[in-house]
């Protein structure tokens, strides 16, 4: 069965610093991978996704993520964090095929940005 691990529950960075949020997945084949962001009191917004092809994917708000098959990882990065990036970030995996549409989420990483 698919599973997603986000090892960092809470990360604090200073505004302008770089950011990397970790995500590891467990799945037998290459899954579809997603990063979502949830701001306080809001729903989930899709940041970026990986299906196939170039393993470095660009998303909205200056975020990027790199798929590394050998490490079963899909880490999210941003070179310079803004105060408005403070939110909860969820990594998710979808298996495709018969499980198309079923998203399995990590427990989330809460990002705090210091001014």
């Amino acid at each position: 069965a698919q599973s997603v691990t986000q090892p960092d529950i809470h990360i604090t960075v200073s505004e302008g610093a770089s950011l990397e949020l970790r995500c590891n997945y467990s799945y037998g084949a290459t899954p579809y991978l997603f990063w979502y962001v949830q701001s306080p009191g809001q729903g989930l917004q899709l940041l970026l996704k990986y299906f196939s092809g170039d393993t470095l994917v660009q998303g909205i708000k200056g975020f990027e993520a790199e798929f590394k098959r050998s490490q079963s990882s899909f880490n999210l990065r941003k070179p310079s964090v803004h105060w408005s990036d403070a939110a909860e970030y969820f990594c998710a995996v979808e298996g495709g095929g018969s499980t198309l549409g079923r998203l399995y989420f990590g427990r989330g990483t809460q990002l705090t940005v210091w001014p």
Binding site: Y36, G43, L46, F90, L100, G101, L103, Y104, G106, R107
Partner: protein
């Protein structure tokens, strides 16, 4: 993408009552889903809402507790029945469009059961 709205946006309910949550999409979508996000937790898939047939429930969720309807390609409802304080959560509707790989989420319904 798709524009998704949910009603109500939040509610406070008494235990033993039921609440029906509506999910409306601005365009026809391929698939619709319902998720639960318990306080401080991640999202868990409750069920896939199938148009014109019974929903497909994930392990741990049953139709008697969470009846779901999907009468057409743009609308679905989730009912939380016989509520208890443990049902206090955010309930989110999501949809896929086109070939179905990407999922978009509604704003959620914040439910507090007293």
């Amino acid at each position: 993408s798709a524009v998704i709205s949910q009603k109500p946006s939040r509610d406070i309910c008494q235990r033993g009552t039921s609440l029906t949550i509506q999910c409306q999409v601005d365009s026809q979508v391929t698939m619709m889903f319902w998720y639960r996000q318990q306080p401080g937790q991640s999202l868990t898939l409750i069920a896939t809402a199938n148009q014109g047939s019974e929903a497909t429930y994930e392990s741990g969720f049953v139709i008697d507790k969470f009846p779901i309807s999907r009468p057409n390609l743009t609308f679905s409802t989730l009912t939380v029945s016989n509520m208890s304080p443990e049902d206090s959560s955010i309930y989110l509707c999501s949809v896929t469009t086109g070939s179905g790989e990407t999922q978009y989420f509604g704003p959620g319904t914040r439910l507090l059961v007293l």
